[in-house]
């Protein structure tokens, strides 16, 4: 059985939201959590260090073809797209999509292709519509579509764009998203 996987996208206001989510999760994360956060092409390790402080689970920057492990958080490196390749990660330097590299849509579409109904897509705070198309594909392929409650988001544009584009399964506050993700059963290892 293919383990569940979670993909998460955010931009403006998303770093703080992700940090709060990781804090709420504590050690309760059982699935791999793969994150595309809009960031400057030349951004450094500061973001990674910041997120590590909030997380009880390991947070790393993705390496190409790295195997996905349950309970680990993988961050898209600056100036690369990050994609899901079955049970591994893959990178690309394809052109930016809507000025974004990493693009949330690229990550989410690859998660839908790879994981189908095992995929969970989460959209947090952000200042544009990236992620809406990807979340729609996750939903179309039978996965679970989750959006942060816009009234809670520092920037509601991204969650609202996803809500307009997709019949989402759940609109939740960060605390509730943490509960949902902790409740995902540990993947059955082969």
């Amino acid at each position: 059985m293919v383990p569940h996987g979670v993909v998460l996208g955010a931009s403006r206001g998303g770093t703080g939201a992700l940090a709060r989510l990781l804090t709420s999760l504590g050690g309760g994360l059982m699935a791999p959590l793969v994150v595309a956060l809009h960031r400057a092409a030349e951004s450094d390790e500061m973001l990674l260090e910041f997120l590590r402080k909030s997380a009880a689970v390991p947070v790393t920057e993705a390496l190409d073809k790295e195997p996905l492990l349950p309970g680990c958080v993988y961050l898209a490196p600056a100036d690369y797209h990050l994609l899901i390749e079955e049970d591994r990660l893959a990178l690309s330097v394809d052109p930016p999509v809507c000025w974004a590299r990493p693009s949330i849509d690229v990550l989410f579409e690859s998660a839908a292709d790879s994981w189908g109904e095992q995929a969970i897509g989460v959209i947090l705070s952000g200042g544009n519509a990236d992620g809406a198309a990807g979340l729609a594909r996750i939903k179309e392929y039978g996965g679970l579509a989750v959006v942060q409650e816009p009234s809670e988001a520092e920037c509601a544009i991204m969650p609202e764009a996803s809500l307009r584009a997709v019949q989402v399964d759940k609109t939740l506050r960060l605390e509730e998203i943490a509960v949902l993700l902790s409740g995902i059963r540990a993947p059955q290892l082969r």
Binding site: D64, K65, V93, D113
Partner: protein, 274 residues
């Protein structure tokens, strides 16, 4: 059957068809990227299904050229990852000074930005007259662009900051002439670069090299193909040659990993030692 699985069957059929019709083999490319390219190509060609795209690709070679171009364009810059060049100057250049002649292979050079960056560095280090850079790509159209040595002027200005961080000794503008909206690299930089078509998937080793750079190309391949291409590099590398990969790539999964030592762990520079 679910749409997702049908699309997967169609993708496999399309890649097989393209290989048999044109000889370009994308069957062992990483699924995520190739799926996305196929999807974009469907929009561009205005077809509704992968099967319809396959039909068009088989019969319309202009459509195939557009598809091939979309698979060959990666967006990079001169002196991408400037720290790599700093490290290269410190850790690799001294070793090159002992060599009578230096052969460099830039595999998958696309539009040539990184090959020219290396030419500039080698010129600054006084090594360029005895260097030859072989810059290869599977696509002749991007090679033609690379050969011109012409970049948009605003891009060249953006590269300047990278050049400085890369330990550049003067100004990037000293290496090109601005004309209208373009930056034209000096002809002396092009003198020792040979641009040639080479397909990493289907072609073999063609020389022995002291340096091989293949940055952000292996990311497009699946694990099986990555190993095969790394073996091709191994067979093409001199006994103490240096292999440079992209910053987020790793040699760690390669079965012959133990034949290499890390020159720079962060910048992914490896030296073969057996």
């Amino acid at each position: 059957m679910h749409e997702r699985q049908i699309a997967e069957i169609e993708r496999e059929a399309l890649l097989t068809a393209v290989f048999r019709r044109y000889g370009f083999d994308f069957r062992e490319y990483a699924r995520g990227s190739i799926s996305r390219r196929i999807r974009l190509s469907m929009q561009q060609e205005n077809v509704a299904t992968i099967s319809a795209l396959q039909e068009k690709l088989l019969r319309d070679s202009a459509c195939m050229n557009r598809f091939l171009l979309s698979l060959s364009i990666s967006v990079t810059s001169m002196f991408r990852d400037p720290e790599l060049y700093v490290s290269f100057r410190t850790c690799v250049v001294p070793q090159l000074r002992d060599l009578p002649f230096v052969r460099v292979w830039h595999a998958g050079c696309s539009t040539g930005q990184e090959a020219y960056s290396m030419a500039i560095l080698l010129q600054e280090e006084g090594l360029y007259p005895r260097c030859r850079i072989y810059a290869t790509d599977m696509n002749e159209e991007v090679l033609d662009r690379a050969k011109t040595g012409i970049f948009p002027l605003d891009a060249a200005r953006a590269y300047s900051a990278n050049y400085q961080k890369a330990g550049g000794k003067t100004f990037l503008a000293d290496f090109y002439t601005a004309r209208y909206e373009n930056a034209i690299l000096h002809a002396s930089l092009r003198d020792n670069i040979v641009f040639a078509q080479h397909n990493l998937v289907t072609d073999g080793s063609f020389n022995e090299f002291d340096l091989i750079f293949c940055r952000n190309v292996l990311i497009y391949f699946n694990r099986t193909l990555q190993d095969r291409v790394c073996q091709l590099f191994h067979d093409s590398l001199s006994p103490s040659g240096v292999l440079g990969l992209g910053k987020k790539e790793t040699l760690d999964y390669f079965p012959r990993r133990n034949d290499y030592q890390e020159v720079d762990r962060i910048e992914k520079l490896y030296r073969r030692f057996r």
